[in-house]
Amino acid sequence: MPRIVVDVMPKPEILDPQGKAIVGALPRLGFTAFSSVRQGKRFELTVDGEVTEEILEQARNAASTMLSNPVIEDVVNVEVLAEDAEAE
Protein backbone atom coordinates (compact mmCIF):
# COMPACT_ATOMS: atom_id res chain seq x y z
CA MET A 1 0.00 0.00 0.00
CA PRO A 2 1.27 3.49 -0.76
CA ARG A 3 2.82 5.52 2.02
CA ILE A 4 3.35 9.22 2.49
CA VAL A 5 6.47 10.33 4.32
CA VAL A 6 6.42 13.38 6.56
CA ASP A 7 9.75 14.66 7.85
CA VAL A 8 9.86 17.04 10.78
CA MET A 9 13.01 18.69 12.12
CA PRO A 10 13.69 21.00 15.06
CA LYS A 11 13.92 24.58 13.83
CA PRO A 12 17.53 25.50 13.16
CA GLU A 13 17.60 28.23 15.79
CA ILE A 14 16.13 25.97 18.49
CA LEU A 15 18.38 23.95 20.78
CA ASP A 16 18.30 20.23 19.97
CA PRO A 17 19.58 18.43 23.07
CA GLN A 18 19.38 15.02 21.41
CA GLY A 19 21.43 16.06 18.43
CA LYS A 20 23.92 17.65 20.80
CA ALA A 21 24.32 14.43 22.80
CA ILE A 22 24.75 12.39 19.63
CA VAL A 23 27.36 14.65 18.10
CA GLY A 24 29.24 14.44 21.38
CA ALA A 25 29.18 10.64 21.34
CA LEU A 26 30.02 9.95 17.69
CA PRO A 27 33.75 10.76 17.89
CA ARG A 28 34.16 8.31 20.78
CA LEU A 29 33.18 5.59 18.31
CA GLY A 30 35.57 6.92 15.70
CA PHE A 31 32.97 8.78 13.67
CA THR A 32 34.77 12.07 13.37
CA ALA A 33 33.39 13.42 10.12
CA PHE A 34 30.34 15.21 11.48
CA SER A 35 30.36 18.70 12.91
CA SER A 36 26.76 18.78 14.00
CA VAL A 37 23.77 16.45 14.29
CA ARG A 38 20.10 17.24 14.52
CA GLN A 39 17.45 14.70 15.35
CA GLY A 40 13.95 14.98 13.97
CA LYS A 41 11.04 12.70 13.24
CA ARG A 42 9.98 10.71 10.25
CA PHE A 43 6.38 9.62 9.92
CA GLU A 44 5.08 7.10 7.43
CA LEU A 45 1.36 7.39 6.78
CA THR A 46 -0.18 4.45 4.98
CA VAL A 47 -2.97 5.13 2.51
CA ASP A 48 -5.51 2.49 1.52
CA GLY A 49 -5.75 2.90 -2.22
CA GLU A 50 -4.44 5.65 -4.41
CA VAL A 51 -2.76 8.81 -3.16
CA THR A 52 -4.86 11.60 -4.59
CA GLU A 53 -3.95 15.26 -4.42
CA GLU A 54 -6.66 15.65 -1.80
CA ILE A 55 -5.06 12.99 0.38
CA LEU A 56 -1.65 14.56 -0.03
CA GLU A 57 -3.22 17.81 1.07
CA GLN A 58 -4.58 16.05 4.16
CA ALA A 59 -1.09 14.80 4.89
CA ARG A 60 0.31 18.30 4.56
CA ASN A 61 -2.33 19.62 6.93
CA ALA A 62 -1.78 16.82 9.42
CA ALA A 63 1.95 17.49 9.21
CA SER A 64 1.61 21.13 10.11
CA THR A 65 -1.16 20.85 12.69
CA MET A 66 -0.55 17.58 14.47
CA LEU A 67 2.66 15.85 13.49
CA SER A 68 4.77 18.91 14.18
CA ASN A 69 4.81 21.62 16.78
CA PRO A 70 5.19 24.79 14.72
CA VAL A 71 6.65 26.68 17.65
CA ILE A 72 9.79 24.56 17.68
CA GLU A 73 9.68 22.38 14.57
CA ASP A 74 9.55 22.69 10.80
CA VAL A 75 7.95 20.25 8.41
CA VAL A 76 10.81 19.78 5.95
CA ASN A 77 9.26 17.25 3.64
CA VAL A 78 5.91 15.66 2.67
CA GLU A 79 6.07 13.23 -0.20
CA VAL A 80 4.79 9.97 -1.51
CA LEU A 81 7.21 7.16 -0.86
CA ALA A 82 8.59 5.69 -4.08
CA GLU A 83 7.03 2.29 -4.77
CA ASP A 84 10.34 0.46 -4.72
CA ALA A 85 11.07 1.69 -1.24
CA GLU A 86 8.14 -0.34 -0.05
CA ALA A 87 9.79 -3.57 -0.92
CA GLU A 88 12.27 -3.58 1.92
Binding site: P17, Q18, A21, I22, A25, R28, L29, Q39
Partner: protein
Protein backbone atom coordinates in the same frame (compact mmCIF):
# COMPACT_ATOMS: atom_id res chain seq x y z
CA UNK B 1 41.00 7.87 40.31
CA UNK B 2 37.52 8.77 39.30
CA UNK B 3 35.44 9.02 42.38
CA UNK B 4 31.71 9.29 42.04
CA UNK B 5 30.84 12.42 43.92
CA UNK B 6 28.51 12.48 46.83
CA UNK B 7 27.44 8.91 47.04
CA UNK B 8 26.65 9.25 50.69
CA UNK B 9 28.46 7.20 53.32
CA UNK B 10 29.82 4.22 51.46
CA UNK B 11 30.85 2.05 54.36
CA UNK B 12 28.94 -1.09 55.28
CA UNK B 13 27.64 -1.37 58.82
CA UNK B 14 30.49 -2.45 61.03
CA UNK B 15 30.81 -6.14 61.72
CA UNK B 16 28.42 -7.07 58.93
CA UNK B 17 29.30 -10.64 57.98
CA UNK B 18 29.77 -9.84 54.31
CA UNK B 19 31.00 -6.30 54.59
CA UNK B 20 34.08 -7.27 52.65
CA UNK B 21 31.93 -8.16 49.64
CA UNK B 22 32.37 -5.29 47.23
CA UNK B 23 29.55 -4.37 44.90
CA UNK B 24 30.24 -1.83 42.20
CA UNK B 25 27.69 0.87 41.42
CA UNK B 26 28.16 2.50 38.03
CA UNK B 27 27.63 6.20 37.41
CA UNK B 28 27.11 7.56 33.92
CA UNK B 29 26.34 11.18 33.19
CA UNK B 30 22.62 11.33 33.89
CA UNK B 31 22.50 8.34 36.23
CA UNK B 32 20.04 9.08 39.04
CA UNK B 33 19.68 6.09 41.32
CA UNK B 34 23.36 5.44 42.04
CA UNK B 35 23.11 6.74 45.58
CA UNK B 36 20.01 4.66 46.20
CA UNK B 37 21.71 1.54 44.85
CA UNK B 38 24.73 2.20 47.06
CA UNK B 39 22.43 2.58 50.05
CA UNK B 40 20.70 -0.71 49.24
CA UNK B 41 24.06 -2.49 48.99
CA UNK B 42 25.07 -1.05 52.34
CA UNK B 43 21.78 -1.99 54.01
CA UNK B 44 22.23 -5.51 52.70
CA UNK B 45 25.54 -5.63 54.52
CA UNK B 46 28.06 -5.25 51.71
CA UNK B 47 30.33 -2.43 50.62
CA UNK B 48 29.32 -0.32 47.64
CA UNK B 49 32.14 0.78 45.35
CA UNK B 50 31.56 3.68 42.99
CA UNK B 51 32.52 2.95 39.39
CA UNK B 52 32.91 5.67 36.78
CA UNK B 53 31.70 5.22 33.20
CA UNK B 54 34.71 6.85 31.61
CA UNK B 55 37.35 5.02 33.59
CA UNK B 56 39.89 3.58 31.15
CA UNK B 57 42.19 2.20 33.81
CA UNK B 58 42.78 -1.54 33.34
CA UNK B 59 41.61 -1.90 36.96
CA UNK B 60 38.52 0.22 36.39
CA UNK B 61 36.32 -2.45 37.93
CA UNK B 62 38.28 -1.97 41.16
CA UNK B 63 38.13 -5.60 42.12
CA UNK B 64 34.40 -5.67 42.74
CA UNK B 65 32.56 -8.96 43.22
CA UNK B 66 29.39 -7.83 41.43
CA UNK B 67 28.10 -4.78 39.58
CA UNK B 68 24.84 -2.83 39.70
CA UNK B 69 23.99 -0.58 36.78
CA UNK B 70 21.43 1.73 38.34
CA UNK B 71 18.50 3.63 36.92
CA UNK B 72 18.25 7.14 35.63
CA UNK B 73 18.50 8.89 32.30
CA UNK B 74 22.05 8.28 31.12
CA UNK B 75 22.76 10.87 28.44
CA UNK B 76 19.24 12.13 28.97
CA UNK B 77 17.81 8.98 27.37
CA UNK B 78 18.48 10.87 24.18
CA UNK B 79 18.56 8.88 20.94
CA UNK B 80 17.33 5.75 22.76
CA UNK B 81 17.45 4.87 26.42
CA UNK B 82 20.89 3.39 27.10
CA UNK B 83 22.08 3.84 23.52
CA UNK B 84 24.96 6.19 24.23
CA UNK B 85 25.93 4.83 27.65
CA UNK B 86 26.44 1.41 26.16
CA UNK B 87 29.59 2.65 24.43
CA UNK B 88 31.27 3.86 27.65
CA UNK B 89 34.76 2.43 28.25
CA UNK B 90 33.61 0.82 31.48
CA UNK B 91 30.83 -1.06 29.70
CA UNK B 92 33.33 -2.99 27.60
CA UNK B 93 34.97 -4.20 30.81
CA UNK B 94 31.63 -5.14 32.33
CA UNK B 95 30.60 -7.07 29.24
CA UNK B 96 33.89 -8.97 29.23
CA UNK B 97 33.71 -9.77 32.92
CA UNK B 98 30.10 -10.89 32.67
CA UNK B 99 30.93 -13.21 29.79
CA UNK B 100 34.17 -14.51 31.33
CA UNK B 101 34.41 -17.79 33.18
CA UNK B 102 34.15 -15.86 36.44
CA UNK B 103 30.68 -14.78 35.39
CA UNK B 104 30.66 -11.45 37.20
CA UNK B 105 27.14 -10.95 38.55
CA UNK B 106 25.60 -7.87 36.88
CA UNK B 107 22.23 -6.32 37.73
CA UNK B 108 20.71 -3.72 35.43
CA UNK B 109 17.87 -1.73 36.92
CA UNK B 110 15.59 0.31 34.63
CA UNK B 111 18.05 2.43 32.61
CA UNK B 112 20.62 -0.20 33.59
CA UNK B 113 18.43 -2.88 31.99
CA UNK B 114 18.11 -0.73 28.88
CA UNK B 115 21.90 -0.36 28.75
CA UNK B 116 22.34 -4.13 29.08
CA UNK B 117 20.04 -4.76 26.13
CA UNK B 118 21.79 -2.12 24.05
CA UNK B 119 25.09 -3.80 24.98
CA UNK B 120 23.60 -7.16 23.90
CA UNK B 121 24.20 -8.77 27.29
CA UNK B 122 20.46 -9.36 27.37
CA UNK B 123 18.10 -9.88 24.43
CA UNK B 124 15.22 -7.66 23.36
CA UNK B 125 14.78 -3.96 23.90
CA UNK B 126 12.54 -1.36 25.48
CA UNK B 127 10.24 1.03 23.66
CA UNK B 128 7.90 3.74 24.97
CA UNK B 129 5.21 2.67 27.41
CA UNK B 130 2.05 1.78 25.51
CA UNK B 131 0.25 4.73 27.18
CA UNK B 132 3.15 7.02 26.21
CA UNK B 133 3.45 8.57 29.67
CA UNK B 134 6.01 8.35 32.43
CA UNK B 135 4.59 6.20 35.18
CA UNK B 136 5.59 5.94 38.83
CA UNK B 137 3.76 3.38 40.94
CA UNK B 138 4.08 0.66 43.55
CA UNK B 139 4.25 -2.47 41.43
CA UNK B 140 3.79 -6.12 42.27
CA UNK B 141 5.96 -8.66 40.43
CA UNK B 142 6.13 -12.41 40.45
CA UNK B 143 9.55 -14.03 40.76
CA UNK B 144 9.54 -16.54 37.91
CA UNK B 145 13.12 -17.71 38.21
CA UNK B 146 14.84 -17.95 41.58
CA UNK B 147 17.99 -19.57 40.29
CA UNK B 148 19.84 -16.46 39.19
CA UNK B 149 22.64 -14.70 41.00
CA UNK B 150 20.23 -11.95 41.96
CA UNK B 151 17.06 -13.90 42.85
CA UNK B 152 18.11 -16.99 44.78
CA UNK B 153 16.84 -15.66 48.10
CA UNK B 154 13.28 -15.48 46.76
CA UNK B 155 10.83 -18.35 46.47
CA UNK B 156 9.74 -19.28 42.99
CA UNK B 157 6.38 -17.67 42.38
CA UNK B 158 6.86 -15.22 45.25
CA UNK B 159 5.09 -11.92 44.75
CA UNK B 160 7.11 -8.85 45.66
CA UNK B 161 6.25 -5.16 45.66
CA UNK B 162 8.85 -2.69 44.47
CA UNK B 163 8.78 0.66 42.66
CA UNK B 164 8.16 1.05 38.95
CA UNK B 165 9.06 4.36 37.31
CA UNK B 166 9.87 4.81 33.67
CA UNK B 167 8.95 6.28 30.33
CA UNK B 168 10.43 3.66 28.00
CA UNK B 169 9.58 0.49 29.84
CA UNK B 170 7.75 -1.62 27.30
CA UNK B 171 9.81 -4.77 26.82
CA UNK B 172 9.80 -6.01 23.23
CA UNK B 173 11.52 -8.82 21.35
CA UNK B 174 10.56 -10.93 18.39
CA UNK B 175 8.38 -13.98 18.98
CA UNK B 176 11.26 -16.39 18.53
CA UNK B 177 13.29 -14.67 21.23
CA UNK B 178 10.29 -14.51 23.53
CA UNK B 179 9.56 -18.20 23.05
CA UNK B 180 13.18 -19.03 23.75
CA UNK B 181 13.17 -16.91 26.92
CA UNK B 182 10.09 -18.72 28.14
CA UNK B 183 11.39 -22.15 27.21
CA UNK B 184 14.71 -21.60 28.95
CA UNK B 185 13.11 -20.12 32.04
CA UNK B 186 14.86 -16.84 31.46
CA UNK B 187 11.87 -14.68 32.26
CA UNK B 188 12.93 -13.66 35.76
CA UNK B 189 10.01 -11.41 36.71
CA UNK B 190 6.52 -10.78 35.43
CA UNK B 191 4.08 -8.00 36.27
CA UNK B 192 1.19 -9.10 38.42
CA UNK B 193 -2.29 -7.64 38.27
CA UNK B 194 -1.69 -5.05 35.63
CA UNK B 195 0.84 -4.66 32.87
CA UNK B 196 1.98 -1.07 33.43
CA UNK B 197 3.68 -0.47 30.09
CA UNK B 198 2.48 -3.05 27.58
CA UNK B 199 5.53 -5.29 27.89
CA UNK B 200 5.38 -8.46 25.81
CA UNK B 201 4.04 -11.35 27.87
CA UNK B 202 4.05 -9.16 30.97
CA UNK B 203 7.82 -9.40 31.23
CA UNK B 204 9.35 -7.19 33.91
CA UNK B 205 12.83 -8.68 33.94
CA UNK B 206 14.98 -11.34 32.34
CA UNK B 207 18.26 -13.15 32.87
CA UNK B 208 21.02 -14.36 30.60
CA UNK B 209 21.55 -18.09 30.12
CA UNK B 210 24.17 -18.33 32.84
CA UNK B 211 21.99 -16.51 35.36
CA UNK B 212 24.66 -14.00 36.36
CA UNK B 213 23.24 -11.09 34.36
CA UNK B 214 19.76 -9.91 35.31
CA UNK B 215 17.88 -6.86 34.09
CA UNK B 216 14.53 -5.52 35.14
CA UNK B 217 12.55 -2.32 34.75
CA UNK B 218 11.24 -1.90 38.33
CA UNK B 219 13.52 -0.66 41.11
CA UNK B 220 14.44 -2.97 43.99
CA UNK B 221 16.78 -0.33 45.46
CA UNK B 222 13.77 1.83 46.32
CA UNK B 223 12.21 -0.91 48.48
CA UNK B 224 14.86 -1.52 51.10
CA UNK B 225 13.91 0.69 54.04
CA UNK B 226 10.62 0.84 55.92
CA UNK B 227 9.15 4.33 55.62
CA UNK B 228 10.80 5.27 52.35
CA UNK B 229 9.45 3.04 49.66
CA UNK B 230 6.39 1.42 48.16
CA UNK B 231 3.41 0.05 50.03
CA UNK B 232 2.44 -3.55 49.54
CA UNK B 233 -1.11 -4.78 49.05
CA UNK B 234 -1.72 -4.54 52.82
CA UNK B 235 -0.69 -0.92 52.93
CA UNK B 236 2.57 -1.60 54.76
CA UNK B 237 6.01 -0.53 53.63
CA UNK B 238 7.74 -3.11 51.48
CA UNK B 239 11.42 -3.98 51.83
CA UNK B 240 11.11 -6.69 49.19
CA UNK B 241 13.96 -5.19 47.18
CA UNK B 242 16.55 -6.29 49.73
CA UNK B 243 16.27 -9.84 48.39
CA UNK B 244 18.22 -8.89 45.27
CA UNK B 245 21.21 -7.81 47.27
CA UNK B 246 20.92 -10.65 49.76
CA UNK B 247 20.80 -13.03 46.79
CA UNK B 248 24.01 -11.81 45.24
CA UNK B 249 25.73 -12.03 48.60
CA UNK B 250 24.63 -15.66 48.91
CA UNK B 251 25.92 -16.24 45.42
CA UNK B 252 29.29 -14.78 46.37
CA UNK B 253 29.45 -16.75 49.59
CA UNK B 254 28.57 -19.92 47.70
CA UNK B 255 31.38 -19.29 45.27
CA UNK B 256 33.97 -18.58 47.90
CA UNK B 257 33.12 -21.76 49.80
Amino acid sequence: MSETPLIADLGAPENAPLSDAKIGVVTFPGTLDDRDAARAVRLAGATPVPLWHADTDPAALRGVDAVVIPGGFSYGDYLRAGAIARFAPLMAKIVDAANSIDKLPVLGICNGFQILTEAHLLPGSMVKNDHLKFICRDQTLRVENNHTAWTNEYREGQEITIVLKNQDGQYVADEKTLDALEAEGRVAFRYVGWNPNGSRRGIAGITNTAGNVVGLMPHPEHAVEPGFGPLDANGTYSTDGLGFFASVLSTLVGESK
